[in-house]
Symmetry: C2
Subunit: 254 residues, 2 copies
């Protein structure tokens, strides 16, 4: 008897982003595991158990789901956005590697979703239209000097930069420090996109120049995209501007 574990990406907050593949995986599960607010997005289904846990309990959540799957159940771990981007898929792999041998015989399926940077980018044009990177500003699991080194590398080489986890109650200064670091490499007028709660009723998108970006513009639900030297802003009468990075790039001016 071998169980099944699906790790399912819901996409951003709106059901219009949920893929049919994700809907199927959620429907097939006997039990769902996830951070409470993500579970709340999944419609109730008779007979399906739900185990909500806190945001910081990824490892325990993965372990509980794996244990149930190893006992023969079909279970799903629910993740916001894409489970493979700063989310539950890596936590589940860590738990599989650290767990008993039988975890390696389970049927494991990762169901991708629209990750926050793609949703924010779509709302404002095409800021990720050329080479880009995704970087978590959380220094809970890596040292801050490594984050600064990556900001330096990405900005100086001309990557557009999507910043996940810009701030939290326990990490109030990191985003400000990151902005200072980026200003060493990028012109003051570089476009910065703030996308908050995309796909939800309280969605808010804002574009400012790097020299005017401040920490007060971010919270835990914000995804930030910092342009490169090539990123452009198209002003539009009566509409939010379009921000895009052209497909052409001449060279890097360092």
């Amino acid at each position: 008897m071998s169980g099944r574990l699906a790790i399912v990406g819901l996409g951003p907050g709106d059901v219009r982003y949920l893929t049919p593949q994700a809907s199927e995986a959620l429907a097939a599960a006997q039990a769902l595991y996830g951070y409470g607010p993500y579970l709340d997005r999944v419609p109730a289904r008779p007979g399906q158990a739900r185990y909500a846990s806190d945001n910081r309990e990824e490892r325990d959540r993965a372990a509980a789901a794996l244990k149930a799957a190893a006992e023969g159940a079909t279970v799903a771990i629910v993740s916001g956005g894409d489970p493979g981007v700063f989310a539950m898929a890596a936590a589940a792999c860590e738990a599989i590697e650290a767990g008993p041998e039988r975890y390696r015989t389970l049927d494991v399926e990762v169901v991708p979703g629209v990750t926050a940077m793609l949703a924010v980018a779509a709302r404002i044009g095409a800021p990720l239209g050329h080479d880009f990177c995704a970087l978590s500003l959380s220094d809970n699991l890596k040292p801050w000097d490594l984050i600064e080194r990556r900001l330096d590398a990405a900005a100086s080489a001309g990557f557009v930069i999507a910043l996940y986890n810009p701030v939290s109650r326990a990490r109030p200064w990191q985003f400000g420090y990151a902005l200072e670091r980026l200003r060493r490499h990028l012109p003051p007028a570089t476009p910065v996109v703030f996308g908050r709660a995309v796909g939800r009723p309280d969605e808010h998108i804002d574009v400012v120049m790097l020299e005017r970006a401040v920490t007060a513009q971010v919270d835990m639900a914000t995804l930030v995209i910092v342009g490169s030297r090539e990123t452009r802003v198209i002003q539009r009468p009566g509409r939010v501007p379009l921000v895009y990075t052209p497909r052409t790039a001449a060279t890097v001016s360092a």
Copy 2:
């Protein structure tokens, strides 16, 4: 009278990746514009016109769709994966910026989708579980030395690297050169994931060590993910291995 333009991401080749938002946008369009093989994936709809064009004609395709929208039509440009990642959204923005003022008054909506790197990552575990970048190896629109500089920056700073457009008939040597460049920074045993045609019947996924990666493993439908020093492989009896990058990172060993 003001028309509407949607730029719609289909996700990878299977309809199970197509979001409800994308389905709605496709259904609402009076005319679809796109690369032939992408248009072929969209079910026919009575009264809906289709304009197929070649892979290389992004700018002309965007211009034609914008012209129709400016004349009052509701049109959609169809894109594989996510339209914002090395695809049609940036081309449309370029055409809007270069076009007549009335293009800036149009209702433009970019509909995100599951881009290839997310689909490939999901099929093999969570190789993008930590900081990563997306880089096109095409030197049609940027010089090769810039690509090499970005490979150097990303690999030495510890980003996992997703390589789009690794090869084409007109670009036979670029992927081999990129591998050589990456070997300067990364250990021989670094995992490299080759994902071909994910979500299609001819899907093929392979994992090799960087020292064994060769150009013969890629074609135009292949997305490559090169791990970082932290990326791990979990062998599983009778199954493809899981490849993942842990959420923790100690430091960069350069």
